[in-house]
Structures are given as C-alpha cells and as structure tokens.
C-alpha cells in the first residue's frame, strides 16, 4: 500500500559546520541520521524524525537544526496537514491513533488570562530575601474541631495523618514502565532533597526506590499492579487513581515489549504480556463504592497514611469532588485536560476533559459552598509550567500542585510526544538499556531540584509583592487575581474580577 504520509520535520544540517563526528548517528534511536552505504556520506531520513532535539542539543558543531517540512497544505483551515496525516495513518492501518504527552491543541490557556496583584502604597510588600516567607504545606484531611486537653496542653484526639511539603509542589504520578527507572530515581532523589513527594504511579514500587518510601506516594489503579500490603505500607501516602487528565474515562495498555524483567518484577506480572488497566475499577461504581476502597486502604495501613483520590477534570468535576470528599478522601487530585501521558488514544487526549483552571476554581468554590473545603486538601495538575502558574493555582484554591511534564523537561524531555514508541532518546520514556543509561539519576535530580528551588524563590517573590508571607494566606485568595481577555461566564467560574475592577 502506498504510504501517503509525508515527514513532519526536516533535518537541517549545515554542511559548512558539520565536523563529521557522527555523534548524531550514534545518539538517534529513531535512526534518522545514517551513513550512506554507497558513499559513506552523512545523511538524514527526515521521515523518522520526531523532533526530540537530542541531536541539535548534543551536536558539538551546532550544525543541526530541525525545521518544519516545507510542504504547504491545500489552503483549507479544516484540511490541514496534521488532519490529512491522521487520515493517512488510519487508512493504512485501521488502528486507534496513539499519542503521548499533553493535549497540544490551541485551547484557551486560562493561566495566561489571569494576572497577579501586588501591593502599592496602601499596604507594604514584603522582601523575601530579608523576611521569613512560608511555603510549607500540609496535605491531608482536617478535623472540623480540634479537641485540646488544656491542662496537659496536648491534643485530646490524634490528628489525621498529613503529608508535609516544604514546597507547594509534588511530582505527578509516572509509572515504571511508562518511564525508566532512572527517571523515577531522579524524582525520588529530588523529592527527598526538596522535602516533597514523588508518585510511583500504578506500576508498583521498584525495590531500589523503597529507601525513598518516606517521600513516596504509592498508587492504586484499576490494574492493581504491584499492590500488596507491603506496597501499601511502603510509601507516605496512597493515591487511588480513578482518572488521568490526558485520558479521562479510559484505562491503559502498557505494551508487552515494555514489560522487561524489572518492570515485570515490580508490577508482579509475567514478562512480555500486555499490562492492562481496565477503564473502571470494577469495585467502584459509585461514591459509596469509592468510600469502600478508601477505607479498605485505611484498614490495610492502620489509618496512618493519607489516602488521595485522583480524577481527571471532566464536566461535573465539582459534584464529583464533593462526593470524593464525602467518601473519605484526604486529598483530592484534579488533573486537567492538558496533563501529560506516556500513551493515550489521540482523540481522547485532544478532545476529552476540561481545563484545570476552570475545574480547580469550580471544585474549590463548590467545596466551600458546601462547607467541606477544609476537610480535604486539593492538588491541581495538568500544565503547571512555571512558578506563576503555581501561584495562580493556589490563588484559585489549590493547596499544592503536581508537576510531571515540567519535571521531565528539566531532565531533558523536549515534548516531542513520541513516548509510546519506547525510543526516547533522552532515556526518560523508554526501557531500552542503551537509552536509559543516558539519564544519570543524580544529574537529572539536580536539574529538577534547581528548577523547583528557582520556582519556590519566585513564588516567595510574588507572594511578597502581594504582601503575603505564608502560602496559606494565598490559598483560594482570588482577590489576588484579575482576568484579561475573558468573558463574563469565564470570570464567574474562575471567581475573579476583570482587570481594572
């Protein structure tokens, strides 16, 4: 059958600069760069290029760049090149289109329509270089009343278990299998260094990560991979994964070729078989059933671990979150529709779910209306790209945020979106030993630590500018936000005034 697809990218090699070191040939797992068998000349097959930018970053002569393939489309806004390419792929395979990383479509990014406040004249701003600035966050449920034995100056009842974060940033769930062990190690090292938590995802906790248990959140998803009493007690908290922003409503298929000996041992399934996470948990068909799973996990861990429940941001997320709080979740995690993934059906990734900004604002507002906001913690994720996004998320009501893609970008990811192929040249979304060896966990951790420390300083600067010296005072403080370029309905849902009001 004729392959009607054309390259997306064009490899641009500057012949004057190229020193023929052939590093690009050795580095490209997609085999874009190659030496001609006939002439020995250095060539490139642009069709195979996914624009991971490994070669352009590493080229010692700066002789490489990746450009767009110069083919123009037919001029129709509807029938553009990507649309045509999808049809070509499906007409040649009959398959479900697979994609990776977050929704790339040009939907509104509401973060960019929310501006932050600062103090002028009427109240002083605070200089975080000289004055204390609190960014510590506790995650967990809080009792409605605190009973204190005043004579003994002790609590009459123990507090529910809490996670203590020194920065308002967690690392999002990424399973061993979808990412490499070195990626998880880097996140674990960074979490320990920063005083926060990584999340091992649904693929079990590799034994090399067990020493990081105090900084681990272990996940329970519908496939129940690697879940046993030891696992449940190995981390600091448990997260029930109901959904993921990139693929709300569906499960996951980790293909057999990614199930090597180590992944198999950690997930506790045979090597080479598909690891299938069904779309629903078949023990959860209702809020009451969710409560049942939450409490089975609490029973299995002696009520010593907070239980988080993660859902994708979908249409009725506010009502769902209310149910989750009432089901006994200590932490509610909302993942917006731009959240990343190792693999998802493209149509789901690009068309299902709602933006995290609107979902977060709606959930926070609903929980406050119902008087239960203080009984749970709220974590937002799905395109938190910089410290200003963190500040906006907290002001919209989040206790903390999770970052996945941003942490991976810090390690080298260039968002090419080809994770599902298993040929990640940066050693992140792959199990190929020659590729995973490219990611040094210590060095990757250092980059992630640097990123989060930089963000945290910026968060302190922004809070200080507002005259706020503790992140608790920023949470749900929507007066610190003003909208631009938003309609009245959007302002209403976000709960913010227009700039100038």
């Amino acid at each position: 059958m004729l392959d009607c697809r054309i390259p997306r990218y064009k490899v641009l090699r500057d012949a004057d600069e190229c020193i023929h070191c052939n590093l690009c040939v050795r580095e490209c797992a997609n085999e874009v760069h190659y030496l001609s068998k006939k002439t020995g000349a250095l060539k490139a097959d642009s069709m195979k290029c996914v624009n991971c930018q490994r070669c352009t970053v590493l080229c010692p002569a700066r002789a490489l760049a990746i450009g767009n393939w110069p083919q123009v489309d037919c001029g129709s806004a509807a029938w553009n090149l990507p649309t045509m390419a999808d049809i070509a792929t499906q007409s040649q395979t009959g398959g479900v289109l697979l994609a990776s990383m977050g929704n790339p479509k040009p939907y509104h990014i509401y973060w960019e329509h929310l501006l932050l406040n600062a103090s002028q004249v009427t109240n002083p701003s605070i200089d975080p270089l000289r004055e204390p600035m609190e960014t510590r966050v506790l995650l967990g449920s809080r009792p409605a009343h605190l009973r204190v034995n005043e004579r003994a100056r002790t609590l009459a009842e123990p507090l529910p278990p809490q996670l203590k974060l020194d920065v308002p940033i967690l690392f999002a769930a990424m399973s061993f299998g979808s990412v490499s062990l070195n990626t998880q190690k880097a996140l674990a090292l960074a979490a320990r260094e920063l005083g926060t938590y990584f999340n091992c995802g649904e693929g079990g906790l590799h034994r090399d990560l067990e020493p990081f248990g105090e900084h681990a959140i272990v996940q329970v998803a519908s496939g129940r991979f690697g879940v046993d009493p030891y696992y449940l007690n190995a981390g600091a908290a448990i997260e029930i994964k109901i959904g993921q922003g990139a693929k709300p409503g569906i499960g996951g298929h980790l293909p057999g070729e990614k199930i090597n000996a180590e992944v198999s041992r950690t997930r506790m399934i045979p090597e080479g078989t598909d690891a299938i996470s069904p779309a629903p948990h078949h023990d959860i068909y209702s809020i009451e059933d969710l409560r049942q799973l939450v409490f089975s996990l609490k029973e299995a861990t002696g009520y010593r671990k907070p239980v988080a429940v993660k859902v994708a941001a979908v249409h009725n997320v506010a009502a769902i979150a209310s149910g989750m709080a009432r089901a006994g979740a200590d932490i509610i995690v909302i993942d917006g529709f731009r959240g990343g993934t190792g693999a998802a059906p493209k149509r789901i990734r690009d068309n299902v779910g709602i933006p995290i900004e609107l979902a977060l604002a709606a959930v926070d507002e609903r929980l406050r209306q119902e008087g239960i906001r203080s009984t749970v913690s709220l974590v937002a994720s799905g395109t938190i790209r910089n410290s200003a996004d963190v500040v906006r998320a907290v002001a919209l009501g989040a206790d903390a945020v999770s970052i996945g893609s941003a942490a991976l970008v810090a390690m080298g990811c260039h968002q090419c979106g080809d994770c599902s192929s298993g040929r990640c040249n940066w050693g992140i979304a792959t199990q190929r030993p020659d590729l995973t060896a490219r990611l040094n966990p210590d060095q990757a951790a250092e980059r992630v630590v640097n990123l989060v420390r930089g963000w945290n300083r910026e968060i302190q600067e922004m809070m200080g500018g507002m005259g706020i010296n503790a992140i608790d005072s920023l949470r749900g403080n929507r007066l610190m936000l003003r909208g631009v370029g938003l309609n009245e309905k959007e302002l209403e849902i976000l709960g913010v005034k227009y700039a100038g009001e």
Binding site: T93, G95, P229, P270, E299
Partner: protein, 296 residues
Amino acid sequence: MSDQTTFEREGGAGLPEHPLPSAPEVTAVTVEQNAAAQAVAEGAMAVETTSVASVTVELGTSHFREANAAVRAALEQANTVVLTEVFAQRYLGCAMKAGKRLEIHGTPGNDLACYMDGGSVEVFGSAQDQTANTMNAGSVVVHGRSGDATGYAMRGGELLIRDDAGWRAAINMKQYGDRRPMVVIGGDAGDFLGEYMAGGVVVLMGRPGSHLASGMHGGVVYLQRAHVPSNLPQGLVACDLDAEDAKVLGGLLARYDRCFAGEVRPDGTVAAAAPLEAFVALRPASSRPYAALYAS
C-alpha cells in the same frame, strides 16, 4: 512486635517498621457480650493468652472499624479467631498474614480478605462483594455463595466458593513467579467471569454468564465442555486437558470435595465436584490481545 504489625515481602529490603495502631478503646462496644474476647481486646490477657488456640469475638452490628480493631486485637492473642453474629462488616481479614485464621459465622461484608497475605478465612455462610479483593496469598473458603467482583485482581492463594459467584468474578487476576491464584466456583458464575484475566486458574462447575473471559490474556479457565458458550469471544481457545491441566484441575476438584462434599445447598442440591473428564481448558490465544489495536 507481633507478626501482625509489620509488612515484609519475601526477600524484600528492610523497611522502616509500620506498626498498626493498638486496638481502640471502642472495641469494648463490639464484644461486650463476650467476656473473654473483651478481656483480649483490652489486653488484660496479653501475656497469658498467647498460647490460646482460639478466641471468639461476637461482632453483632458493630461498625466495621470497631469490628476490625477487635479482630486484630484478638489475632494478637490467638492464631485462630472465631467470629460470630457477623452482620456484613467489611474488610474482615484485611491484609491478614500467614499463620492466622478467621472462622466466620454469619455474613461477612464486602472486601472480605482484601490484600490478604497468607492468612486463612473460612465462611460458614455466604460472602458479599469483592471477596479476596487484590489478595496476595492465603486461603478463603466460602460455604455458600459470593457476590460481584469476587477475586478481583487476586495475585495468589486459593478461593473456594461452594455455590454461585456474582458478576465479574476472577477479573484482572494475575500471576507472577510462584504466585498463582486459584478460584473454584461450585455453582454458576455471572457475566464477565475472568474478564481481562492475566494469570491464575479458574474452575467453574456450573454455567458461565455472557461475555465469558473477554479480554483474557493469561491463565486458564476450566469449565465443563457442555457449558462452553457457542459464541466464545474472539481470541480464546477451548482445548482438551493435557497432563498438567489434569494435575492442577484434579487437585482443585479434590480440594473442593474436601471442603464441601455432602453439604446441602439452599436449593436442596448436594455439593460435589464435577468429574475431571467433563472439563475443557479455556486459554487466550495471545498474551497480547490488543497488540494490533493502535497506530501512531
């Protein structure tokens, strides 16, 4: 520390110990009609009673949290705990370890023996939904029927049900290394038996519902030749037993008879294992049923 207070995996690296909290004071509520058990729950017999063979705890209508705290406290004192007047308390036997045994009289609630890790549970009555949910090892024997999602995501151990099982029994079961879950159902099973099954063994004496073993990509379902549906889902093959099948199935049928033979069911029939010759083995044709589903 007793063996109920830490979780260790065979060959696992040393982890910080995770002590379970001691039984809350409320246990007295749950066991007030049972002086011995109450004493146990309060720790009064802590030293003398470690050699006690069994302790009886009456659960009545106590809340699951109180009930499970009382059961855990009793298991600290004796390796076998007999539960009477059980009225649908959830999570009984949750994460219970090897060497511990629960004998349950009445009706245990959902998630019986969830995450169980080697313990033994025998129910003299019927069980509700999600019995042996994500069970790792051990034995559950039910002298009655069991509800929906029975044996959900089991990874090891045995689950024997004298009568019927509800919908979606033995789904998502998996096996790894020497862990191979075994589910024996003496009666009929509801729809979707063995859905997405990735490992382990299911023996079904009665009739399956519709959508039998859809998405199955590992393990084996033994069912009677006469009960194999005519519209078997694509990707499954029914074949005659080989020597290994006969050994595994023969052992499980004998085990069923040892547990239940001669017991009279509510419908008046007498429990007995079907003959080995009547069975065929249902297996997936591929461990990668969806390998060709995607394009990128």
